[in-house]
């Protein structure tokens, strides 16, 4: 049976339909889950989509992390099941403490919306298991606060534990260590700024996002 993926929708999320469409086209069952309910239902994986949850007021993710659904997402993640945060979803996962570090305003203060080239650094995660290490993927970014930052100790840990999944070939936003995506120590919670769901159809200019989302579907099947 195909796994069921829950996509959490906050007021201000705007990529939930893209995520749903992409995941469905890759064979997953998908359902949208309103942030105000702690009930995730019977899902096998959770996606926190891009957008501007709660208007990004105070800081991106600062308010969203207190939504009732997030408490359930935290327990879901702690039980080892796959959680993926895309763009604003990545920001929410760092605010919720499920991923280390924080996302700062882009260097140069420009809102960036363009395809970028990413390097696959490891295949040991729920997002990259179907990718090939060293491969280059073209996937769009669409953010103002995607400049990943963390302290030296965390950066060393991320490197030592092989937790940097994707890096930018040409760093667009000032992100430390060219980081585009990371995972937690258990490797089941992943966050990335680029939008794989927008690179899943030839009409969109790239299908490179498919291998990342397919990895997530396969990991949700386990």
């Amino acid at each position: 049976m195909n796994p069921t993926i829950g996509v959490i929708v906050f007021p201000g999320s705007n990529c939930e339909q893209d995520a749903l469409e992409a995941m469905t086209s890759l064979g997953a069952s998908c359902k949208l889950l309103w942030h105000n309910s702690p009930d995730l239902g019977d899902v096998d994986g959770v996606i926190i989509p891009g957008g501007f949850a709660h208007g990004d007021y105070l800081r991106p993710g600062a308010i969203a992390r207190f939504s009732p659904a997030m408490e359930s997402v935290i327990s879901f993640a702690r039980s080892g099941r796959p959680v993926l945060g895309i763009c604003n979803g990545f920001q929410i996962l760092t605010e919720a403490g499920l991923l280390p570090g924080a996302l700062q305003k882009n260097r140069g203060l420009k809102f960036l919306c363009k395809p970028v080239e990413l390097n696959v650094q490891t295949t040991n995660s729920v997002l990259t298991s179907e990718a090939i290490k060293g491969d280059s993927l073209t996937i769009p970014i669409n953010h103002f606060e995607g400049n990943y930052t963390c302290n030296d100790e965390t950066l060393k840990e991320l490197h030592a534990e092989d937790r940097i999944l994707l890096t930018y070939k040409n760093n667009p936003n000032g992100s430390i260590g060219d980081i585009a995506g990371i995972c937690n120590a258990q490797r089941n919670v992943v966050g990335l700024m680029p939008h794989p769901e927008r690179a899943c159809h030839p009409l969109l200019g790239s299908t490179d996002g498919q291998q990342l989302l397919r990895s997530f579907i396969e990991s949700s099947r386990l």
């Binding site: 105070l58 800081r59 600062a62 207190f66 760092t94 605010e95 280390p100 570090g101 924080a102 700062q104 305003k105 882009n106 260097r107 140069g108 203060l109 400049n147 930052t149 963390c150 302290n151 000032g174």
Partner: protein, 84 residues
Amino acid sequence: MEFEANVEVQLKEGIADPQGSTIENATPKLGFNGIENVRVGKSIRFTITAEDEATAKETIQELCEKFLTNPVIENAIIHLQGAE
């Protein structure tokens, strides 16, 4: 007792501040010289009712840690004064 609070949220030292550097780069072009080390923060003002100043401060500190700041990149300076 009611107190007036002003929480100044600042980026921690060593954390790059793209807004600060953009402002700093603009200053000489506008004819203002000698301006350096620009850091941008935010100021959050509110009133708080508490038994005494110490309690108010304690509550605000917790509020800052849990919500008003991201402790990974930000610090808070709390200013508190008794409201008339």
